[in-house]
Amino acid sequence: MFKYIADTILYSWLALDNANHWVQALHFFIYDSLKIGFLVFFVISLMGIINSYFPIDKVREFLENKKLYGLEHLLASLLGAATPFCSCSSIPLFIGFLKGGIPLGVTLSFLITSPLVNEIALVLFLGIFGFKVTLIYAIAGIMVGTIVGLVLSKLKLEDHLEDWVKKQLKEKMDQAAFKDVRTFSERFSDIKSEAVDTFIKIMPYVLGGVAVGGLIHGFVPTGYFEQYMGKENLFAVPISTILAIPMYSNASGVIPIIQSLVAKGIPIGTAMAFMMAVVGLSLPEALLLKKVVKIRLIAIYFSSVGVSIIALGYLFNLVL
């Protein structure tokens, strides 16, 4: 359907030549912006509804008092994947979990997976790479959160919390619980305005990503990257992971670029490692975390997530 719209605009209405590179880039741009914009809006609305009925305090309640012999990490990781992520809320959330008695390692499982496997990334993957790749990406992200959180919990890192956090954790907390008894139609305006806000916030990234993707699509010859970053280049995965750290951006902007890179010869595992590192290892995130934990814990956190991402990149290149 979206291809039909792009075809109609460019070839029928404007009668452009589809052998021209600029026209190819433009076609890609129109097609992808329509498709991605539509998908993103759909998912944001859906998540808004889920979030309204299952807010973060419910998530915490669900995780409290759960001693599942390691499975609580998997549970936290799954909930992290299902919860919309916003870096601006990660500190209050971090403290809130710890105050609720959730162990640090379990909280970290949640915090690692939440940006790594977020709903927008998933739906874009689904639209662009298909079901199989999306499922593998989701499972891999959830495993990274589970395993890294589990390993970190064995390291007894509670000492590396900042002093003000430790002090607050000692204070008794009165559970803030708000019952939301509104009906769906009463919630609707909230859900709608939030969905529209999020949409407006991320669309510039999407359009930017699609524009860059479109240029790559139109101008870079097929297979071009293979000679530099093919599977036989063993450094490609770690290099793309490291390159991704300063490139924090919305997942929605990165995926359209990745699509074009994969189409031009970058192996999918390398591309996925890049993608995971962009969302899961971001400098702004580290700077935020710096306020609640000491530098050593951040270093351990980043390096273990980074190593897992690199390992997954190699694995994907082997099996996909």
């Binding site: 973060i56 305090d57 500190i91 209050p92 959330l93 809130g96 979990f97 607050q168 803030a176 305006s189």
Partner: protein
């Protein structure tokens, strides 16, 4: 009455602030509206998501921008 808006200064915090001020003026309540942007302060109130609303040191809502009528119901 002291009302605190917790949040790191994002757009939704400003919206919450203006809704709060409107609710106050509609009920003709005189209150001090303070903005709290420091994480140490924010987490003291057990707000897990910003923006959050604190009335007289009691957290009444977090993670959403309340509309004017809802804020009125908190104030009454």
């Amino acid at each position: 009455m002291i009302i605190k808006i917790l949040g790191s200064g994002c757009k939704s915090c400003k919206k919450l602030e203006s809704n709060t001020k409107q609710a106050l003026s509609e009920l003709s309540i005189v209150a001090e509206v303070q903005k709290v942007t420091d994480y140490i302060e924010i987490t003291k109130y057990n707000a897990m998501k910003t923006p959050a609303l604190v009335i007289d040191e009691k957290l009444v809502s977090f993670g959403k921008v309340n509309d004017v009528s809802e804020i009125k119901s908190f104030l009454e």
